[in-house]
């Protein structure tokens, strides 16, 4: 058993916060969230931290550990350098509620504004559809998202440039890709993607892909294919000419 030092962010909403130092004993197999709970029990009963499943599946315990956006419940203490204190702070892309807890409700509002799934008329009389597994495989990856919003947190367009009014962020490009590339879907989201949702703000720097705990290849498989579809519709002069001539 070894004692480790932690620097944990403490602040009330709207208040200028700062790091406070805590120490606790770490045993084998502990994750950062265990350490935070132990500190809460031993010396900081009022420390706010959000969590739920402790299994990397609910997406609640997102924070920045040693400067990296991580799920606290999936970050092993043994993977962090032992000779330095562990810093834990809230996500920077969202308003702070208290200590490690941020207000992520903006994400839910963004999601509401995205055009919903609109399937083609049923293929069979009983109101069901037929799809080839190989066609749905492509969008399956996107459905692994646990809405931890770590990708939103790391994306410089939200984190640094704070374009929340004009850019939906990687999480919702993944969501849109899941709908837009679905073999049954008939809705058209390309104009929204270009204008209101700001896909052109993404400069493909791939930080989102790096932090995703579900290993979704956000940039290569969701964002770039969406960008290419937007190019087809709005930026490709030959295609546009063809569209005008053929009237399609």
């Amino acid at each position: 058993m070894a004692s480790r030092t932690f620097h944990i962010w403490r602040a009330e909403a709207g208040e200028e916060g700062g790091f406070q130092e805590y120490s606790t004993d770490i045993t084998e197999g502990m994750v950062v969230l265990d350490a935070v709970h132990q500190i809460q029990a031993e010396s900081a009963g009022d420390l706010a931290v959000r969590w739920n499943c402790k299994a990397g599946k609910c997406g609640s315990c997102s924070a920045e550990v040693n400067g990296n956006p991580r799920l606290m419940c999936m970050t092993r203490m043994s993977d962090l350098p032992e000779d330095q204190p562990v810093t834990i702070e809230p996500m920077r892309a969202f308003p702070l509620l208290r200590d490690l807890v941020t207000d992520v409700s903006w994400n839910f509002e963004v999601k509401k504004a995205i055009r919903k799934f609109k399937p083609r008329p049923p293929d069979a009389e009983d109101g069901t559809w037929r799809m080839d597994q190989r066609d749905v495989d492509r969008v399956q990856e996107f459905r692994k998202c646990i809405e931890c919003f770590l990708c939103q947190d790391v994306c410089h367009v939200l984190r640094d440039s704070q374009k929340h009014d004009e850019f939906i962020g990687p999480r919702f490009f993944v969501h849109t890709a899941a709908l837009e590339m679905h073999p049954l879907d008939t809705e058209d989201r390309l104009a929204d993607l270009r204008k209101a949702q700001g896909v052109g703000y993404c400069n493909i720097t791939k930080c989102c892909t790096k932090v995703c705990p579900e290993h979704i290849t956000i940039t290569d498989n969701a964002i770039i294919p969406l960008k290419e579809r937007v190019v087809d519709r709005f930026y490709d002069p030959v295609r546009n000419l063809f569209r005008i001539i053929s009237g399609r």
């Binding site: 040693n66 702070l96 790391v154 720097t205 930080c207 770039i224 290419e228």
Partner: protein, 268 residues
């Protein structure tokens, strides 16, 4: 679009981060690698000399559209070439491969970090207050990447032909062409393989061959093409770097052999 309800944390200053790793290593390596290539290729393109040796032709000069070389397609320097710009066959064509790499999705992400710190690295503060993404001129032109892809596919065919020609040596005594393999042949062939891996993994190509469709299960040829391009695309960054370095090395190899500094070794 909904606005954020509440106060966002203050922006981080340039270079500010709580990361402990060497986050600057990749952007610095990218900066050095790309700058090195840029300097060498610019220098080489202006030389207009030592870009061929017998059946070997430097990929930086291929195709020779105009020039004094026996590889030239349309004869010597054209009349329309402005007199104040030194003529070189490489300058006529380099815009195409340069534009292809410049607008490549991988390179874009890499040089936005390395050259303009936008962002400097993940979770590292950037120096810029405003941000326009790729929505305005000139960066909106990045959307034309597919046109450079079409050109690059043409170049790939030409370079494949060059590699084939690099297997046929003229016997100085008889004047006859015989099949052979020299180190130069291997260098130029590997160049085509690496450029092929890079070009065939292009995101725009992936879109074109199958990504554009929501359902490709009923189209075996397109599905196969999509799967192949996706396979190359998985390691697009690695192909990008290997092919970049090897293009420069291929030019250097032909150049040094042609200058007599190195001599080409005939294996077969």
């Amino acid at each position: 679009m909904p606005s954020v309800a509440g106060v966002l944390p203050e922006r981080q200053g340039f270079g500010a981060t709580r990361r402990r790793d060497r986050w600057w290593a990749v952007p610095v390596a990218t900066l050095l690698g790309l700058t090195g290539f840029l300097v060498y290729s610019t220098w080489a393109a202006f030389q207009n000399a030592h870009f061929e040796l017998g059946n070997y032709l430097s990929p930086m000069y291929s195709p020779v559209l105009w020039g004094d070389s026996h590889h030239a397609w349309f004869g010597p320097r054209p009349g329309f070439w402005p007199s104040f710009i030194p003529f070189s066959p490489a300058l006529v064509i380099l815009g195409a491969p340069a534009g292809f790499r410049l607008t490549c999705y991988y390179y874009r992400g890499a040089y936005y970090k390395a050259f303009v710190s936008n962002p400097a690295s993940c979770t590292v503060g950037k120096p810029w207050k405003g941000y326009g993404g790729e929505l305005r001129f000139p960066l909106i032109l990045q959307n034309l990447h597919r046109y450079f892809l079409y050109l690059a596919l043409g170049f790939l065919c030409i370079l494949t032909w060059d590699a084939w020609k690099a297997m046929w040596f003229v016997d100085p005594a008889t004047g006859q062409e015989t099949f052979g393999i020299g180190v130069g042949t291997l260098v130029l062939t590997l160049n085509v393989v690496l450029l092929g891996g890079y070009t065939l993994g292009c995101h725009s190509l992936r879109h074109l061959v199958g990504g554009v469709l929501d359902s490709i299960s009923g189209r075996p040829a397109r599905r196969c093409a999509y799967e192949c391009v996706s396979w190359f695309n998985l390691r697009h960054m690695n192909w990008a770097w290997c092919s970049l370095v090897w293009v420069a090395f291929s030019d250097l190899y032909v150049r040094l052999c042609s200058m007599g500094v190195w001599s080409d070794f005939r294996i077969l």
